[in-house]
Structure formats: C-alpha cells, structure tokens
C-alpha cells in the first residue's frame, strides 16, 4: 500500500522552451481510484511515466509513502509501482503469456517454486486462465491489456498506473477491466491512477476527478466531479443525409463471402459486401472490431477469407504496382506513410507521381496555408507534432489521387480548426476529382457534410445504415 505524493514537479522536454508540467503538486491516496483527465498533449502520459520512473529525473519530487523511488531497491520498484501502456502490444518482452509472467516474477526474485502458483492465481483473478499458453502476438488488444493487468497483479504492485488503457479495446472488455481495477482498489488496497480523456462509464466509481491543465493538477470537489461527468456526453454521430445504397450506384470494390480474422479470432463472419464508387462511405464500430483489418485486406496487406474484386477483377490478379495506384490507404499511424525526411521531399514525391494537373504548385501552397502548415518545407517530418504529421500525410495521399482512397482515422489528434480545414479540403477534392473515399473515424462531429453512406461493424457483421432513397 502506498500513497503517491507529488510536490512542485516541473518537467520540460529536451529542446523545448516551455515546461509541460509546471510546479505541479498533488496526492493520490492509498486504496483510491484516481481518474486523471485533460486535453491530449497536456502532459498526462508524461506525469504517469515520471511517477513510474520510466523517465529518469535527477532529483524527483515524487514519493511513495514518503520515500522517493530512487530510495527503493531496484528489484522492489516493480512491486511498488507498475504501469499499463496505451498501446497494448508494446509492453511485452517474451513470446507467450506464461513466459512473460515468469519473466516479471523472476525479475522480482520470487523463489522459483512460488512462481507457477502466483502466475496461475493472477490469471485466475483476471479470468484469463485459458490464455496461459497463447502467443502474445496473436491476442487481441483487449486480451493483451488483460494479460498486462494480470502481470501487474502477479507482481503485486502497490501503485498501478494506466495511460489511456482503453484506447484500442471494445466496450465490454473495458467494463471487465474497470471492474477488476475497482476490485484491486477496494479488496487489495491498491492505489490506482488512470488517465483518460473519455469520461464515460466512470461516475459510479470516482468521487474526485483530477484535471491536468496548463501544467497544473486540480482535484475537483465531489459536486464539480459529478457536474463534469454529467456534462460529458460521448460524441454522437449526426448524419442527416445518409441513405441506403441504391441501384444507381456503381460498385467499385466487391467482397464475396468476405471474412476477416486476427490470429484465431474471427472479426468478420463471411458476408457479401459492396463498396460504392464516387461516394464517401464512413465505417464505424467498436474499438478492436476489425475496421483497420478490413482496410489492410483491401490494400492487400492482410489476409482475408473469400474473394475481393476491384471493378470485377480479383484483386490478387491485378499487378501489385498497378493496384496500389488505384486503391490507396492513409495509414492510421502517420509515420507509416512517410518515405522521406523533410516536408518538402515528401510533398515532392507525391507531386512526381500524383495528379499534377490538378495539384499545381500554387494549389499545394494554398492547401498548406489552409492547413496552417506553410513555411515548414525544410522541417523534419518526425519532428512535427502528431496533428501536423496527420495533415501532411493526408495531403500526400490526396495529391496521389487514387480512384479509391481509404482513410484510417484521418482526424485523430487534430484540433477543431484543423478538422474544419481537413473537412473542407476533402469535400472539395472529392467533388473535383470524383474520388471514392472510405473512412474510419472515431471523431464524429463535422462529418455530416462529407458522408453519403454509413457502414457499421457490429457483431462481426457490416451493415449499411440510413433510410432508403
């Protein structure tokens, strides 16, 4: 059991002028579930990493029951504080669940004869004994987060830190994990600090919300916390002119008995699916339900069951090189798209092979202005903020102007003004060049003008929504 105290913590990232955490103070009491919220990029992750000791600091103003982490013997640190990461797959060293659990317990110098029992007990507590011998790589994001939590339970860490742990997992799994966390708090006296910007589903368990803004931490009163929860309504999708597909539409991509799987988990039960040309289709569905997997299958980066045709030709029979110019994908991670070092080089590559008749140098400059990216030509792509990367990435793929452009979370991490700009540009380009756009988005506001068709992925099935024309 441990109370975490932070006293006047200031942290500035290397090569940055302004501190992300500025004289921040706060207390996270033993046996309490603390929920930390704030805007993205506001320093939530930084604070958690500092508490976990993952970012080293010379003199840390963070203490556990009065002791700084540096005063605790290195091998006992993991039993003092442990962290669950945002990206599920990046937190393991070993290949299977059992090996990873053993690895963690060996590090803590647990006697060899106790290791097996502690592994089993932890898996049992989270309810995933059936996953014991499975390969971590083939588990879903939700299962991986459960395993990560089981490891923390096995290590018996006093303080459990979670950095947006539900960002890529489906709602039922989220609920199970939350219940386990609350049980750890109440029954085992663990201190839990969870950072999340989505406040839905916490009200019954959290009395005081901690808000991180401008580098400072404020603990809200019970009344103010309730107010916040009440005011937080998950974004609702407002699509006013979405219609069911009709006979006049041309099919561009057609799946016949198309099925998708991740490892041995079926994501999409084989079904027929038509995607229509010259329209904008939005695909929605819970986290981890297989939307990105569908996109990967459409660009031949992933396996699928059944047959996929593009304009009546099986996509495996079209030359890879030719097909890649017809159906393009804007990856969810911007860095996956970039092939060069600077902004200018990246744009030049797109101009070389893309639609240069429409995207003249003047038009590109104008678009850069619109996206608030002018004058950054010589900047290294990887030093841009995630929002700026996203906008450059979108521009690069638009200049390529493939017949079908798949956009995986094109608005992720963008501020309001950028979303408006991106929407206007997408709409204009789509109409001018008569493109087919298919997008996945969790950001739902502002899409109304753009979207013509709406597909939902639920219960392993894709269905068109809307009224018939």
């Amino acid at each position: 059991m441990a109370t975490v105290t932070v006293q006047s913590l200031t942290y500035t990232y290397p090569k940055q002028a302004h501190p992300v955490l500025d004289h921040l103070s706060g207390t996270f009491p033993t046996g309490k579930f603390s929920l930390l919220t704030g805007v993205s990029g506001g320093g939530k992750s930084t604070l958690l990493k500092l508490i976990a000791g993952l970012i080293p600091m010379s003199a840390t103003p963070i203490t556990f029951d009065g002791h700084p982490l540096s005063a605790i013997t290195p091998t006992q640190r993991a039993s003092t504080v442990a962290m669950l990461f945002q990206e599920p797959s990046t937190q393991f060293t070993m290949d299977t669940v059992e090996n990873e659990l053993r690895f963690a317990l060996e590090n803590q110098q647990v006697p060899a004869e106790e290791i097996a029992d502690r592994c089993d007990a932890a898996l049992d507590f989270i309810g995933i004994s059936n996953l014991k011998f499975r390969k971590l790589m083939f588990l879903s994001g939700g299962e991986q987060q459960k395993v990560a939590l089981a490891i923390i339970v096995a290590m018996d860490s006093d303080v459990i830190l979670l950095d947006e742990p539900f960002a890529s997992i489906d709602p039922p799994t989220r609920l199970i994990l939350l219940e386990k966390l609350v049980a750890l708090c109440n029954d085992r006296g663990k201190t839990i600090i969870l950072a999340d910007h989505d406040l839905s589903g916490y009200q019954q368990w959290v009395d005081h919300l901690a808000v991180l803004a401008d580098g400072q931490l404020t603990l809200l009163s019970t009344a103010a916390t309730r107010e916040r929860f009440a005011a937080f309504t998950p974004q609702r999708l407002q699509l006013t002119h979405v219609q069911l597909p009709n006979d006049q539409l041309t099919v561009c991509l057609q799946g016949t008995q198309l099925g998708l799987a991740h490892g041995d988990r079926q994501l999409l039960t084989p079904q027929d699916l038509s995607l229509y040309a010259h329209r904008t289709t939005l695909i929605t569905g819970p986290n981890g339900s297989g939307k990105s997997t569908l996109f990967k299958a459409l660009v031949r980066l992933g396996r699928y069951q059944g047959q996929l045709t593009y304009r009546q030709t099986d996509i495996t029979k079209i030359r890879k090189r030719r097909y890649a110019r017809q159906v393009g994908l804007m990856f969810q991670a911007a860095s996956a798209q970039f092939l060069n070092v600077t902004v200018a080089e990246e744009l030049a590559l797109s101009q070389k092979y893309g639609d240069h008749a429409y995207f003249t140098p003047t038009r590109i400059q104008q678009l850069l202005q619109q996206l608030n990216l002018a004058g950054r030509d010589e900047q290294v792509l990887y030093s841009l903020s995630s929002g700026q990367q996203k906008k450059i990435q979108l521009l690069c793929m638009l200049i390529m102007a493939p017949d079908v452009l798949l956009l995986d979370e094109p608005l992720k991490g963008l501020d309001y003004a950028s979303i408006q700009a991106v929407m206007t540009i997408l709409k204009t380009v789509q109409q001018d060049l008569n493109l087919t756009l298919i997008l996945i988005s969790h950001q739902l506001s502002g899409l109304d003008d753009l979207v013509d068709l709406h597909l939902t992925l639920a219960d392993r099935h894709l269905t068109y929504q809307g009224v018939s024309a």
């Binding site: 091998t75 937190q91 690895f103 290590m155 980066l301 090189r321 990856f331 590559l349």
Partner: protein, 217 residues
C-alpha cells in the same frame, strides 16, 4: 545436450573446419548432422531448403574457381563440402534448441549478463514484426508510385527508424516488468548442466581432432 555447450562445440568445430582442409572430416560432419536432424524430425521442406541453398552457392563457388584458378580437386571438394558443414550444423542447432531455452542457458550456465541474453531473445522475437514492417513500407511506397526493392536504401532507412522506436519501447516494457540491469534474478526453470554434457562436449571435440590428425595429408 546443454544449449551453451552445444553452441560452443559448434563454433569450435566450425572454426577448425575453416582452417584445416580435410574433406573426409567435412563429409563425416555432414552425415552426423544429417542423422541428428533426421532424429530431430526435421520437415522435408526445411531439409530441402537447407540443401538447395548451400548447393547453389557451393556450386557457383566451385564452378568459378574451376574456371578462374588452378585450384586442386582436393581444395575444390573441401570448399564444396565446407558450406554444407556450416549450414547442416546450424540447421541441427536451431532445430533442437528453442531460443528461450538457449537464452536461459546463456544466462545461467555461461553467466552471460542478462541484458545480453534477453537482448538476443528480444531481437529474435522481433523478426515477425520486422517482416510486417518491410511489407508495410513497400506497400506505402507503391501507393506513392515508388517501387522499393530489397536493395533500396530507403527501405532500410524506414525499417531502422522503426527498429529504433521499438528498442525504446522494449526498454520501457522490460523496465515496467521489473527488469533491472545487473540485478540478481531467480529462475523459474533451471537449465541442467550435467557431467554427461561435458562428456559429450569433450568426446565430440576429441573425435574431430583425431579425425583431422588422421586425415591430414
């Protein structure tokens, strides 16, 4: 046999074979490795790969030597069989030694610092991720009109960039699961190192020495 000793044995034999030209020993080693692989139930597909690839390179090498130099037939046979010795011995080793078991052994028996032992294992576990990354980079390039071949520097630039990112993630993952460099650890499984392993090690080495001595012209 104990994985660390097995590795040491193979490296020693490979070194000797590189310097001493006795083709009969090469053939003997090939036959022994083949028998051991068959006993280890190697798949035919894998055996075929392990044979065809060195066959291609050995033949090319021997052919070019025959055309371009006045090497003796004895030397050509030695060169031809040497590559098979390396590949077959390596094939037997990887077939019979799970990477995790080797890591445990290197850490426990060879007293290799755990940082290196787990570094090796992590690199091994990264293989499928690297393959996926290469496929993604090539697809991303195709969508932009660029064809990246296996020899394109741009492909390696991207993959190295990704690998650097993974190494940071891996370090964080290991730390968060309590790994501390140089700190003592317990072992859920102990890799046995018994007298039999040493007998096998010394016996096999001796046998090769005798063979080399007898076989020397």
């Amino acid at each position: 046999m104990n994985p660390s000793l097995k590795l040491a044995l193979l490296v020693l034999i490979a070194l000797e074979v590189s310097f001493i030209q006795v083709w009969s020993i090469n053939v003997a080693l090939i036959v022994v490795s083949l028998i051991l692989m068959l006993l280890g139930r190697i798949t035919w597909r894998r055996l075929l790969w392990l044979t065809l690839v060195p066959l291609f390179f050995s033949s090319a090498l021997v052919w070019s030597l025959m055309l371009r130099s006045s090497a003796s037939t004895h030397f050509l046979i030695v060169i031809f069989t040497r590559l098979f010795v390396y590949v077959y011995m390596g094939g037997w080793f990887t077939l019979t030694t799970p990477p995790l078991w080797l890591t445990h052994s290197l850490e426990q028996n060879a007293k290799l610092p755990s940082k290196f032992a787990y570094g090796f294992l992590a690199a091994f576990n990264l293989m499928p991720k690297i393959q996926a990354e290469v496929a993604t980079v090539r697809a991303a390039a195709l969508m932009r009109g660029e064809v990246l071949h296996v020899w394109s520097p741009r492909l390696y630039f991207k993959v190295i960039l990704a690998a650097m990112n993974w190494s940071d993630q891996l370090a964080a993952a290991m730390t968060s699961h309590g790994f501390v460099e140089g700190a003592p650890r317990t072992h859920a499984q102990t890799v046995p190192l018994v007298a039999r392993d040493w007998w096998l090690f010394v016996g096999s080495l001796l046998l090769v020495q005798v063979g080399l001595f007898v076989g020397l012209p």
